[in-house]
């Protein structure tokens, strides 16, 4: 007996050694990426290591397994489709048991509830089976007889999730209406379709539909909404779905009403999602068929993506065809590969553990404590913007707004920055409001006194004279004339046309000032309205663009005006064009200041100012065009349209020349390399 026992132990050890292949390598064959505040994909520390590979449970191998679920106690349930059974195993590779042999046909989905009821979606049996803890069948549900389900719609369940109330959410193959929601009452009452995806309708397809014949329309790709590929349910009863081809809506988190609560705008979605699993920290994992594993936070922001397809080199941690994913209590990810018929277990690294810890503490409102793991995270990777953002939020919650502002700025987190800035500005205003008012009052008094003194004793005559004299200089007077043009474009344009007020020098000076302001504003405006990245400068192309537009517009307008018997010369047209930029030149400093003192809430002021500036510029430009050429309103409109047309033609011309030139170049190059090759052989 003793001996038998020892043998048995030996055997168990042997089996363990055979099945478990923990890889001790710290170098993974895949790269881990994250996304930074600008939405750029950036490499980071390895988030999960390939920990072990399970090819068998005991001596039982899987065959085309298609779903995996981990029970509360850590047991692994696998839908072993081709072997028509559910396998239960441990993470060590021991076989605990099998369920449904002889009963199941092709189990494609499996779900285990907290009290160990096993729900199986069997596609070929067209049924859902429920087994109890001991593996005996409790009940089964077939196709719902409700008329709402649709008589012609087949019932081919492939994935299943069950909430605490026993309500089943079933993904059915070739059922485009959505997830089938079944109640356990009365043998499976059909509750309706849940989380239906919407068919995307683009403008072009609307136009097509309007103009095509019925026959043509029938040939178009049908506009049926995509069915979710897979689903899962978390502790709170929220249902997660993944849908292939839905781009940023690939992952959805649906509340009980079926409303999506996650939004992703970063294009960090899985192209061919296979499965989804809810994590332990309000996070969620999506596994792509090709082997990529994504981890998102509760807002749908991507934390990591890692893994990848096996390119034939057979390295541990790469997959061929992923069909399922599950997560255990210690954040280990189990990825089921149906082609390799194996489960790859990934274990989180120190880095990921810190992040999860921070997520956990933050979600519990323990902000001060959450800063500790975040500090360590940033020590390990100071460019991990997500940690910066979380750090900023922690400081914000602690009402340390200066630090919150700093971290939000680092993380490029606009919302966090705006909120922190609002608080800081608010407290500044509170503190300084009296000083500001006092200063204004003193200023007002000073001005009044000065004015009085001036009207009595003319003390300001000398500076006034100097200013007048300065203004009389021709260059200065031209600049002043531009300001006058801004106020009275009609009169001033007449001056340009008839009184010789056109000036190359002043115009070019104004254009340069415009350029300078444009560039300064673009690169140094307040963080919240800034559209370029810090440290990115493309000044040469900015200058080129402005100069190019100025030259092109002047030239086109001149050419068009000449044909249309306009009276403007190049000089006059250039002058009025440059003078028309005056509103921008004068008002941009205000935009600049506003961009630095406003938060997202008051952002509309900057936008309105922008509209005002550009509207003004456009209006005086049109009036200038009319007056300088002495056109009627109708003629002006015609010339404007023609100018736009000419500009388009010019652009087209340049494009054609470019394309042709590239072709010629390619042709010559091909002849030369062919020649070289022939001679060479």
């Amino acid at each position: 007996m003793q001996r038998l026992k020892r043998l048995l132990i030996c055997f168990v050890v042997f089996v363990l050694v055979m099945q478990m292949r923990p890889s001790v390598s710290a170098d993974t064959p895949y790269v881990t990426y994250t996304i930074n505040g600008y939405g750029q994909i950036r490499q980071t520390q390895c988030a999960y290591l390939a920990h072990a590979t399970l090819t068998k449970f005991g001596s039982e191998a899987m065959s085309e397994p298609s779903d995996i679920c981990i029970a509360e106690n850590g047991d692994i349930y696998v839908a072993d489709s081709k072997n028509s059974r559910i396998m239960i195993g441990s993470a060590d590779g021991e076989l605990i048991g099998t369920i449904g042999e002889g009963e199941l046909k092709t189990p494609r989905g499996v779900f285990v509830t907290d009290n160990y009821d096993v729900y199986v979606a069997d596609r070929d049996a067209e049924k859902i089976f429920v087994f109890d803890k001991n593996g005996s069948k409790k009940c089964e549900y077939g196709k719902p007889d409700s008329p709402l389900y649709g008589d012609e719609v087949s019932f081919l369940p492939i994935k299943i999730a069950v909430n605490d109330a026993g309500i089943m959410f079933v993904v059915c193959e070739s059922n485009t209406n959505g997830i089938v929601e079944l109640s356990p009452n009365e043998g499976g009452t059909f509750l309706g379709y849940f989380g239906t995806n919407y068919a995307a309708t683009s403008l072009t397809s609307i136009i097509y539909r309007a103009i095509l014949t019925d026959a043509q329309r029938a040939k178009m790709v049908s506009n049926i909404p995509a069915t979710p590929t897979n689903l899962t349910i978390d502790d709170k009863g929220l249902v997660y779905t993944v849908t292939r081809g839905s781009k940023n809506d690939t992952l959805k988190r649906l509340n009980i009403a079926g409303t999506n609560m996650i939004s992703n705008h970063d294009d960090t979605y899985a192209a061919t999602p296979a499965a989804v699993a809810a994590g332990n920290h309000d996070n969620v994992y999506v596994a792509d068929q090709q082997g990529y594993i994504f981890e998102y936070n509760n807002e749908g922001e991507m934390l990591f993506v890692f893994g990848g397809p096996d390119d034939g080199t057979q390295r541990v941690g790469l997959s061929r065809l992923v069909s399922g994913v599950a997560v255990d209590d210690s954040d280990r990810i189990y990825v089921l590969d149906s082609d390799k018929a194996q489960i790859q277990i990934y274990a989180p690294t120190e880095f990921t553990d810190l992040l999860h810890n921070a997520l956990y503490l933050y979600s519990k409102g323990r902000y001060t404590e959450a800063k500790e793991p975040l500090t360590q995270l940033l020590k390990m990777n100071s460019m991990y913007d997500y940690a910066n953002k979380a750090m900023g939020s922690c400081y914000f919650q602690e009402e340390n707004y200066a630090q919150a502002l700093k971290y939000a700025r680092l993380a490029k987190d606009h919302k966090g920055y705006s909120d922190a800035f609002w608080e800081i500005r608010n407290s500044w205003l509170k503190k300084n409001i009296m000083t500001v008012i006092m200063a204004l009052v003193i200023l007002w008094i000073a001005v009044t006194i000065l004015k009085r003194a001036d009207s009595k004793r003319h003390i300001l005559d000398t500076p006034r004279k100097a200013i007048k004299k300065f203004k009389r200089k021709s260059f200065v007077s031209d600049i002043c004339y531009a300001a006058y043009y801004m106020k009275k474009p009609s009169d001033a344009a007449y001056g340009i046309a008839a009184e010789g007020r056109a000036s190359w020098l002043a115009s070019t000076f104004l254009l340069l000032v415009f350029m300078a302001e444009f560039i300064i504003l673009k690169y140094t405006r307040g963080f919240l309205t800034k559209s370029v990245m810090d440290g990115r400068y493309e000044i040469l192309s900015d200058i080129g663009m402005i100069a190019g537009i100025a030259v092109a517009v002047t030239l086109c307008t001149y050419l068009v005006c000449t044909i249309n018997e306009g009276e403007g010369t190049i000089k006059k047209i250039y002058t009025f064009f440059c003078y028309s930029l005056m509103p921008y030149i004068l008002l941009t400093p205000i935009t600049y200041i506003l961009s630095h003192v406003l938060t997202t809430n008051e952002d509309f002021l900057v936008v309105m100012l922008g509209i005002l500036i550009w509207g003004w510029v456009a209006v005086i430009m049109v009036i200038g065009l009319k007056e300088v050429n002495n056109f009627t309103a109708a003629e002006t409109l015609k010339v404007i349209l023609l100018t736009v047309f000419a500009a388009l033609i010019l652009a087209l011309l340049i494009f054609i020349i470019y394309v042709l030139w590239a072709q010629v170049f390619e042709f010559v190059y091909a002849i030369i390399s062919e020649g070289v090759y022939r001679l060479g052989s």
Binding site: V24, S25, Y33, A50, Q314, L318, Y537, Y677, L679, G680
Partner: protein
Amino acid sequence: MEANKQKRLPLIIGAAAALIIIVSVVLVAVAGSSKPMQLSTDKSHSKEIPSLGERISAADDFLLVAQNDDYELYYYEPRFSLKVVNKNNGAVMESTVSDEKDDGKNNKSWTGYIKSGIVINAIIGTLNTYQVDLNTVPSKIETYAIDNGIYAKISFLGDYMFDIGVEVRLEGNELVVRIPDGSVKENKEGTYISTISVLPFMGYTYLDDEKGYMLVPDGNGALIELDNKEGRYSTGFSGLVYGADEGMTSSSAVPVIWESYETVTEPSTVLAPVFGMAHTDDELAYLGIVESGDERCSIEVVPNGIMVDYNRCFAKFLLRDVFVQPLNQSNSGTVTTVEKDRLHSDLTVRYIFLEGDDADYTGMAGAYRDYLLENGAVKQRDTSYHTRVDFLGTEREEFLMGTKAVAMTTADDISDILDELSQSGVQNVISVYKGWQKGGLYNLPVTDYTADGNIGGIAGLDRLITEQAEKGNSIYVYDDALSVNAKTHSTTYNVMKMVNKRTFKQEHNRQVYDLFYYLMPGRSSTNISGLVDKAGKRGIDTIAFSGVSEKLFSYSYKGSFYSRTDTMDIYDSALEYADERCTVILETPNAYLWDRGDAFTDMPLDSSDYLYIDREIPFFSIVLKGIVPTYSGYVNFEANKTENFLKMVESGVYPSFYVTAQDSSKLIYTNSSDLYSLEYTSYKDTITDYDAKLRALAQQTEGAFITDHEVLENGLCRVSYSNGTKVYVNYGEVPLTAEDMTVEALSYAVEEGV
């Protein structure tokens, strides 16, 4: 009318004359350039065929052809089959599958393969898929006796008409198999030899018939057990020695996510041309060393279940490759082309047989160490302990119309950091200073010894190096002698062109500089000697080289082709020049440069995670420990630091850190934006900690070799040194005890030698 004609006549004559001139110029040009382009390789080892004795016949059965006190060599002619018998224990290794061991499951082609001592892959036209073996292709073998062995003249007839000669000698416990370059003949136009596999089944086993393992030269070394693989794997290990030839094959498509981000990392390259087979129950093993032709050779280690059920490992020489020649820029038109000339080198594989206790991987490593030392392929260097703390000087980010410097660590910063480390006990540091040169880290190539103004200029750098040398810290200037930055340097000349005459490009998805080229080897060599001389004039003789130490490629220049052999020779002599004048550090050097560096950095600690690998072993660490100091990759970017530390303890590799004085977030707009964790303040404590522990360990193993490396039954890893010191490493989560030594979980213990 007539007048018109007369007027035109001179015109016509002129035109005709012009045409003639043009045509003749073109003809001359064509004639000039169509001179035969030859491979300039004509490096001769001992390419001649040995003097032959009498003709022997072994047509019926194995014939004893050589023997000594320990081994007997038998030969069976029709299959070119060799059998090595150990006289002491009777263990046998055979080079072709015998009829008894044939499981009869294989098709004709595979049966031909497994029973042939030489297998050739032939190219006909541009297809390189024709298998030529001694069983399925008509062939003729004449065998002659030579000293301690035989020489076989093998002719493959039929469609192929190849001649090769194979010399086999038994030298003590070593079996040397050599195909002299001069004996290889391709007698039929358009039919060429692509690869030659030498003894592809030497020491083979069937499924799990025999216990043992095969040595894979992947990463730091790995083993494939000789157990039954149950057909789990679709391929075995196949690695071109010294990495892929980037001049020949344009890099294959790697998996990318969102169309631009590469998701799979490159497997590590085969650093040295070795492989091995150990039959542990029979107590017979061999280490295979590719002695010549290694630069165009792949190591194949194939477990059972892949096409056939035999475990085997061998060397496969690549004589002639096929490459793609694009005909236009868009690469829409291409032709597949066969290399003009084949590899010209003897193809030699040396099998060192090991018996008894030596018939394991530590025995193999010891044999390889002895081999390297005897042949001068490594030299005894100073192996005393140093912690390596590298610094990043300056980088560049885009600014206005150009770039501006991002100064991360100045010379003075380094002084301060090293002084501070010294106060906390970290002394005798070695440091590689990256980005010291004018224009920052990626201002490549480095052609002069001129430091960037932002780190303190040349005076500051000189002062730093000399002052720190007095304090015992060595600072090495870093030189990537291979890469050329397309944006900072003119690239018309001197950049490497692939054999298809296209410029080799390395594109990175980076912020500032995204395009790099490789320098022509000749130019690299000039730059290396230039830097050595110019630095030498200022009294600086510590340089770290990368790029040239890791890469090996074929290239074309002005219509001529140059092979990996040429590149290898140029790099070798350039680094020899440097090694004679300086203290040289090489980054991940290939085996042919192992005699050129005083220390090796970034040596792999792991393997490439292939599914079929059963165990990772510190093979190359065992070989080099006690001869050349080796340093790990940077600890900064390791995800699992404890395990990484234990690996260093196990393999005797010294630790490396990469630090900056400034915060690494300053690098966000530079090419180094992936260096996410560098600031010295974050690493000070770790450096001190690692230094204290590993220095103490290194003192106990000072100057000693690793004589044994074993994973004990309970999972504890034991490393024994030649001075008697034993190091126990526990990677497990529970304390383990062996030989009265208890080692805590995730820890190590040392038992000092007597």
